[in-house]
């Protein structure tokens, strides 16, 4: 039997501590920047996976929902001096509610049709923000510069954003993991696998899609708060559909439908794409993304369930499980 707290959790904690200690030993700003981007991409991909992975509703509009979070928190900060820390809660609720409301008539649409609707909503938001005077139109909004201020989530050093990003990804990972292992998670997964079966065992697919949208888009908006305060500049281009594709890529490569998948995918692909960007794009612009796309295509063709999909069915996992269980057995042996 697996325990609630065992060697797996200890290892995970250890891993977080090691990552957290990284800035003390690594001085390179470049490495820290890549870490921050990895945290951000992992968080966004995890948020996406609540709807796309757990519930099986593929959204290509999540960049816009992230953008909504970024815009709302920025406008609140610039115009009403609302701390981004408070905005985190506000955008989670507001964006979660807005998206759930907007998408709720669309949950009868299955498969690619739902995806088309999310593209349409995303592009509508981008179009509206591009033309909205109050939100700076296409020019975007610059966040106010100034002295470091924890309350305003404003730091001049990368280290602070490193810990902020780490905190975000750990928090979102724990939330998504808890959903996955809960009754709610079973409901969502049943809807993903088969809506007729869901109906037959008493699950209202519509209701569960609404809940998944609320959580997924709400968390995505929280990522948007981080994005705005880290880059300190936002414009409607952050809402573009191609950006949405970036957020689902770690999930697809790491393993759609597993919680560790998006995290693992981001850890592999974000540094890789940054490395390729630094080395190749000076030689030929776009070549880094060509490799990126090829990796995606190869994974889809040869390992449709991603790295975690392969791992979960492999002998390797069985062996690792055995090791963990035996350690657990020794550590927590019954008296």
């Amino acid at each position: 039997m697996k325990r609630k707290f065992g060697s797996r959790q200890i290892l995970l904690l250890l891993l977080i501590v090691i990552v957290a200690l990284l800035p003390l030993y690594v001085q390179s700003t470049y490495t820290i920047t890549i870490c921050i981007m990895t945290f951000y991409m992992a968080s966004a991909s995890l948020a996406w996976s609540v709807l796309g992975g757990l519930t099986g509703q593929i959204s290509l509009g999540h960049a816009a929902f992230m953008g909504l979070g970024a815009y709302i928190s920025t406008l609140l900060l610039v115009n009403f001096n609302v701390s981004p820390w408070i905005s985190i809660l506000i955008v989670f609720v507001v964006v979660g509610a807005i998206t759930a409301l907007l998408l709720s008539p669309c949950f009868g649409l299955r498969g690619p049709y739902f995806t088309l609707v999310t593209i349409a909503f995303g592009e509508t938001f981008r179009n509206l923000f591009t033309n909205w005077e109050y939100a700076g139109k296409g020019k975007g909004i610059l966040l106010p510069y100034g002295e470091d201020d924890f309350g305003l989530m404003r730091f001049s050093d990368k280290q602070s954003y490193f810990y902020l990003g780490l905190g975000m990804v750990v928090l979102i990972y724990i939330i998504v993991k808890m959903i996955d292992k809960s009754k709610l998670g079973y409901g969502l997964k049943t809807v993903r696998e088969d809506e007729d079966t869901a109906n037959a065992i008493g699950i209202n697919p519509w209701k569960y899609k609404v809940i998944a949208t609320f959580i997924s888009c709400g968390l995505m908006a929280v990522c948007g708060v981080f994005y705005a305060n880290y880059y300190r500049f936002i414009d409607p281009e952050i809402m573009i559909q191609t950006q949405s594709v970036e957020y689902l890529m770690p999930a697809v490569i790491g393993g759609i439908g597993s919680v560790t998948g998006p995290l693992l995918g981001a850890v592999i692909i974000t540094p890789l794409s940054q490395f390729l960007n630094a080395t190749l794009s000076s030689i030929a612009a776009g070549s880094n993304l060509v490799i990126y796309a090829v990796i995606l295509i190869v994974v889809i063709l040869f390992q449709p369930r991603g790295i975690m999909g392969w791992f979960n069915g492999s002998k390797l996992k069985a062996k690792i499980d055995k090791v963990f269980d035996s350690i657990d057995g020794k550590l927590f042996s019954k008296k």
């Binding site: 669309c106 009868g108 593209i119 349409a120 179009n127 559909q241 990126y292």
Partner: protein
């Protein structure tokens, strides 16, 4: 009144491009039952092929159309028979992988073109590029008018092809009933490859037409890809006459929408109408049981 007539004329001209790209998407859906998420990128590739033919051999975009069509057909057929077919087989009951794959192909095309052509805007000049036609108080640019005529010709050709050629009949048979087609000896593999090739060729022709009055850059496809989804939703997925009419309606919606709500918000109008239609269609379908 003249502004309105001018808007309608402009709408029809833009609509012609939308109709062509819509037809290219809908024919692929009709046969393979997949929504090709890289249709706009295929159009973009077609534009670059047309640009290269102009740049290297001085070929007029309109005269280059047959060549562009052949090259794009080959690219499409090859792509389908190698990569896409594999993903379709992988996932008999699950179409999300084909969705991801075509999205991935779109990224690949965009960045391959970025690699070879940089992000600069490229143009190809046609002999008729600067000419205009005056119809009373309405002005139409010559290349747009020719593009519209090409749409009409292509639609007629497509209709004749599907109706009277062996391959065309096989394509229709497969789209109506795949198993039935297989049973009666049609090689669906070949039909799939040709259909995707045909879809790519039509997208390429659209690109070549567009090249005569517009410029190409690596991300130009995104807009047309999204528009093609709207066109086929308007006209009914899989229906070629539907895509024809849907394209023209979308073009009119855009230009008339621009007049009514201002050009900046025309996208919002278009997308909202799109969402409304998708949802209504779904509701009607579920009511019927």
């Amino acid at each position: 009144m003249d502004t309105f007539l001018q808007a309608i004329t402009n709408g029809l001209m833009v609509g012609g491009i939308y109709a062509l790209i819509g037809m290219s998407l809908t024919i692929i859906f009709g046969v393979m039952k997949i929504i090709n998420f890289c249709q706009g990128e295929l159009l973009m590739v077609g534009m670059y092929v047309s640009f290269v033919l102009y740049d290297q051999f001085g070929l007029d975009p309109f005269l280059a159309i047959p060549l562009v069509a052949i090259i794009m057909f080959a690219i499409g057929a090859l792509l389908q028979s190698t990569i896409i077919n594999r993903a379709m087989k992988n996932t008999e009951s699950d179409d999300t992988n084909v969705l991801f794959l075509t999205v991935g192909l779109g990224i690949l095309f965009t960045n391959l073109c970025l690699m070879f052509f940089k992000s600069d805007y490229r143009t190809a000049v046609s002999a008729v590029s600067q000419k205009n036609v005056e119809l009373g108080n309405i002005t139409v640019s010559m290349p747009k008018l020719i593009s519209f005529l090409i749409l009409i010709i292509m639609s007629v050709l497509l209709f004749l092809f599907l109706k009277h050629t062996t391959l065309g009949k096989q394509i229709r048979a497969t789209s109506q009933n795949k198993t039935g087609a297989q049973v009666s000896g049609i090689k669906t593999k070949m039909v799939y490859a040709s259909t995707y090739g045909l879809g790519a060729a039509l997208a390429g022709i659209t690109g070549a037409c567009l090249m005569s009055y517009y410029y190409v850059f690596p991300t130009v496809g995104a807009v047309y890809g999204t528009r093609s989804f709207i066109v086929v939703t308007l006209g009914g997925l899989g229906s070629i006459p539907g895509a024809f009419i849907g394209g023209l309606v979308l073009g009119l919606l855009e230009t008339i929408g621009s007049v009514v709500v201002g050009a900046s918000f025309k996208d919002t109008v278009v997308f909202l109408v799109f969402i409304l239609i998708l949802v209504t269609k779904q509701l009607v379908k579920s009511k019927r049981g």
